[in-house]
């Protein structure tokens, strides 16, 4: 509080300074001798800081619990790292492939595909990639599942040949003796799983990575997987077939001389294998994949993988507006697949309907509340506030109960003879149901702002207009209505914002034709698990709402939002 004291005593000291003007001609001084201007500035700065300090905890709280999740969602709508993470080698190789050339990718791509899918299927990631690509290309999901099962056979070609050549290569212990460093082998042999200690992490023997680069590479992946994901004893674990194919590649590769010079454990077996390898049956990877599924030797899957290789994609957004990525750039989907545009149109149309019916019903109520004597108006206000305070679920269930074929409304109508018993109105599970229920639910949000604006319009204006010769209609339309427009604006934007993102009520009374875009978002999050598309749809909806929010802020000001009258 001392800053406030400073600020308030400053005028006194200014007076004192004025009296002392004869002797002192410099800048005005505060009581403590600093120039007044600086002293006031300091007080102001302190005030600002103290205000910010009071706000800071909440601001940080909201940023972490609310703004960060929204930002994360926006990020997800363009993020696409699953393709690159699951197929790192394939996507690198594919960069050199011309997706429009009409040619299939070369052997190197198929080989890296084999390596990628092998690692992915061990980690059970290939099905996730499959379902991701299935959003873009139907059939990708089953293709990847099939391939996950098939890649084992490809590697076993080499595995069998090496094992036939020498049983030495069959055992995990032997592989570890060759590839592992001595220090690691020593600690590893002492380790017991039952002891509960962490497994000593695998270390490569010095120099192995130079002579058997690919084997070392895949063995490291294998070791990491066994030790950290499977939690098995690496020393006893037989390597993946993938390691054998890498081993074959090394033995027939450019490091033959270094292999010949190798003198560590298993040198004789290695030399024998190096001598035999060139005469092994080799694998035609493209053919092998064609055997798994002929889709692999057709263009669409490769084009899809190539299109979705980058870390970020606008694919989800294109999907959300019924477009798709093609090799020639974005294009509209076929007519029968355009569901989101219909859904956006329906959401907008129904929100407009709801807003209009809220204006239609809310305007008379706002008028009568504003023009009745305070006591009566307060009583009637309860009828508006009670629904406002009642649980949304209660109101929704009430409407579900009332709108049913055998519900209260239909029963009453039948009893009154308005409709026949066999032609009861279909009021639920369609747009009518959603509009009726949501109009009721959002009506208080229209009445309250209308009421607070109408209360400020003096009734004498209308009387004055009439005494000047205006007809009833002119007096209302030219005098009263323009003054109530701010209330209509505030209420409409509020109702529109709320209705456009509604989820619960359409989900329960909307059936199939009365649902909103938000129901689709929820469906993609919880059922189809296409989170990226859900995030993109959400981002579009968010953009619309924020635009309206901005308009609301301009028209009404967020500070003027009032609750409960």
């Amino acid at each position: 509080m001392s800053d406030v004291n400073n600020a308030t005593t400053a005028p006194n000291s200014a007076l004192a300074a004025e009296r002392a003007e004869d002797e002192y001609t410099g800048p005005m001084l505060a009581a403590d001798g600093t120039p007044l201007k600086r002293s006031l500035n300091r007080a102001l700065r302190r005030q600002k800081i103290s205000a910010l300090l009071l706000i800071a905890p909440l601001l940080i709280f909201v940023l972490v619990t609310f703004v960060a999740p929204i930002a994360d969602m926006l990020f997800r709508s363009v993020e696409n790292k699953i393709v690159q993470d699951t197929l790192p080698r394939t996507t690198t190789e594919l960069k050199n492939w011309d997706s429009e050339g009409g040619e299939l990718p070369d052997q190197a791509v198929y080989k890296s595909l084999y390596q990628d899918i092998y690692v992915a299927q061990e980690r059970k990631l290939h099905t996730r990639l499959g379902s991701r690509l299935n959003y873009e290309l139907t059939g990708a999901s089953s293709l990847f599942r099939k391939s996950g099962r098939g890649v084992d056979d490809i590697g076993e070609v080499y595995q069998d040949q090496f094992e036939d050549l020498n049983a030495f290569w069959k055992k995990g212990e032997n592989w570890n003796d060759v590839l592992g460093s001595d220090a690691w082998l020593a600690t590893m042999k002492d380790w017991k799983k039952a002891s509960g200690d962490a497994q000593p992490p695998f270390e490569m023997r010095d120099g192995i990575a130079d002579i058997l680069p690919q084997t070392a590479n895949y063995y490291l992946i294998f070791a990491d997987f066994v030790q950290n994901e499977d939690n098995d004893n690496l020393y006893k674990e037989d390597p993946w077939p993938l390691v054998y194919s890498a081993f074959y590649d090394d033995l027939t590769g450019p490091t033959a001389e270094q292999i010949a010079a190798y003198a560590g454990p298993g040198a004789t077996e290695l030399a024998q294998a190096a001598a035999a390898a060139p005469s092994f049956d080799s694998v035609d990877y493209a053919q092998a994949f064609a055997d798994i599924d002929k889709d692999w030797v057709e263009l669409p899957i490769w084009q899809t993988i190539a299109t979705y290789s980058p870390r970020f994609t606008n694919g989800y957004f294109l999907n959300a507006v019924d477009m798709q990525k093609t090799p020639d750039g974005p294009a509209l989907r076929p007519d029968d697949e355009r569901i989101y545009w219909t859904l956006f149109k329906r959401t907008l149309f129904m929100s407009v309907c709801i807003t209009l019916s809220c204006i239609l019903l809310g305007y008379p109520v706002g008028w009568i509340l504003a023009n009745l004597p305070a006591r009566t108006a307060n009583l009637l206000m309860i009828l508006v506030l009670l629904p406002f305070w009642t649980s949304l679920l209660v109101r929704t269930s009430a409407w579900k109960v009332m709108l049913q074929q055998q519900g209260v409304i239909n029963d009453t109508l039948v009893w009154l003879g308005v409709v026949a018993d066999d032609s009861r109105l279909a009021l639920i599970n369609n747009q009518t149901g959603t509009i009726i229920a949501m109009t009721h639910i959002l009506l208080p949000f229209m009445i309250l702002p209308l009421y607070s604006v109408m209360k400020t319009v003096p009734p004498s204006y209308l009387r004055a207009a009439k005494s000047l010769g205006a007809t009833n209609w002119t007096a209302f339309w030219r005098v009263y209505f323009p003054q109530s427009v701010p209330g209509i604006g505030a209420g409409s934007i509020l109702v529109f914002i709320l209705s456009i993102g509604y989820y619960i009520t359409p989900e329960i009374v909307g059936g199939r034709t009365g649902t909103f875009i938000s129901n689709r978002i929820a469906y993609h999050i919880s059922s189809s698990l296409n989170w990226g598309l859900a995030a993109a749809l959400g981002a579009i909806l968010l953009a619309v709402v924020l635009g309206l929010y901005y308009a609301y802020d301009k028209i009404v000001g967020i500070d003027n939002v009032k609750l409960g009258g």
Binding site: V394, L546, D553
Partner: protein, 392 residues
């Protein structure tokens, strides 16, 4: 504006046809319900017109006439349709008795401005009838749920037994189901555990921030306000989606803490709005006076500022509480089965196996909302009185 319009008795040629027209409308409904709308209109018009004439020209004693009409029409209704007929008949009888004298004595003009033309008077009352219909629309869903929750059957409509006020048609069985079902009770407990914690977080952070925001000089005030209010504006499904993705990343998804944090964020705008509204009328010189007398800022806050803004804080808290207590979309995504709240349970109930137990729960919730509404209204009035903003 209280108009003192002199009133006088009206000629028969005016009020008998008007009463007959009203009778025709009533007759239309009774008639269609019994098979013939046209006949109903004719009979209704004749009865109402004759009744108006009879009451005003022959009986003349208003009290006696109105009671007699009520009882006679109720009796006729009882013979036609039993107890429901009795009630409807009594209502009709009372209405037409009152209506006849209202027209005859010209009382309808008493409270409207003297210079209005008959057309304007008609519009004045037609407008009130329209407003009345809208109020009925607003309140009916809530009123319908309550009696239906005492239904003895598993139906969602009024059974004939209920309509004839047969005690056998009513029971507390859905309430028993609610109190005996472990699903529902678990949901109630979860709601009771989550809502107060979320309310506490939003009120404590929100009050501090509201005090900060209502200082004279706050840099970036509009931007900060926009961020703090945004949880109320952003559609719930988007908040829910974002929180679901983000909380899964940081391991809060499916935890009690996660749901509490999410609900606290949703409740914050309400606290900010109500508390800043209260602070508008807060006299800053009071804190200076307290500081002047040697109170430190903490004492000043708790002994001077807090008691004065307490009504706003409490109603903000109630808003935050009801937000969390009512919230279903976010908890549906952020929570897991262990955090199943009451609205969630209702939502599943409505979507999957709809059972009338929901109506019992709904009635209980309406009761709770009425209590909360009363408290908030009382607080609002008290706060306005304290700040001298309202004459009462």
């Amino acid at each position: 504006m209280v108009a003192l319009t002199p009133i006088s008795r009206k000629p028969v040629s005016f009020y008998v046809p008007v009463a007959a027209a009203a009778g025709a409308i009533a007759g239309l409904f009774v008639g269609t319900a019994n098979g013939s709308g046209f006949l109903g209109v004719i009979i209704g018009a004749i009865i109402a017109g004759a009744l108006a004439f009879l009451l005003t020209q022959i009986v003349k004693n208003e009290k006696l006439g109105r009671w007699a009409t009520t009882i006679i029409v109720a009796g006729v209704g009882y013979f036609m349709a039993g107890i429901p007929g009795l009630i409807i008949g009594a209502a009709f009888g009372w209405f037409f008795g009152w209506f006849s004298f209202w027209l005859y004595e010209g009382r309808y003009r008493a409270k409207v401005a003297p210079y209005l033309t008959p057309g304007q008077v008609l519009w004045h009352f037609a407008f009130r009838v329209i407003c009345g219909a809208i109020f009925v629309f607003l309140i009916t869903p809530i009123l319908v749920v309550m009696p239906l929750s005492f239904n003895a059957e598993n139906f969602f409509t009024f059974t004939p037994e209920m309509l004839s006020f047969d005690p056998a048609g009513y029971s507390l069985k859905h309430y028993r189901d609610f109190f005996n079902s472990s699903d529902w009770q678990g949901a109630v407990w979860n709601s009771i555990k989550i809502a107060p914690a979320a309310t506490f977080l939003s009120v404590s952070f929100g009050t501090l921030a509201a005090i900060g925001l209502s200082q004279q000089h706050v840099p970036f005030r509009r931007a900060i306000m926009a961020i703090l209010i945004s949880p109320m504006i952003v559609p719930l499904i988007i908040s829910a989606a974002g929180m679901y993705f983000f909380y899964s990343r940081v391991g809060l998804q499916g935890t009690y803490l996660g749901v509490v944090l999410a609900h606290a964020a949703l409740g914050i705008p309400f606290v900010i709005i109500t508390v800043t509204a209260t602070l508008v009328g807060f006299d800053r010189s009071l804190t200076r006076a307290a500081a002047n007398m040697g109170a430190n800022p903490v004492t000043t806050f708790f002994r001077v500022q807090m008691p004065l803004i307490l009504p706003g804080v409490i109603s903000g808290g109630l808003f935050a509480f009801i937000t969390s207590f009512d919230e279903v979309v976010v908890v549906l995504f952020v929570g897991s089965a262990g955090q199943k709240t009451l609205p969630w349970q209702m939502f599943t109930g409505l979507r999957e196996q709809i059972s009338p137990t929901i109506l019992a729960v709904a009635t209980i919730l309406v009761g709770i909302s009425i209590c909360l509404l009363t408290v908030v209204e009382l607080l609002r009035r008290r706060s306005e009185r304290l700040r001298g903003m309202s004459p009462t």
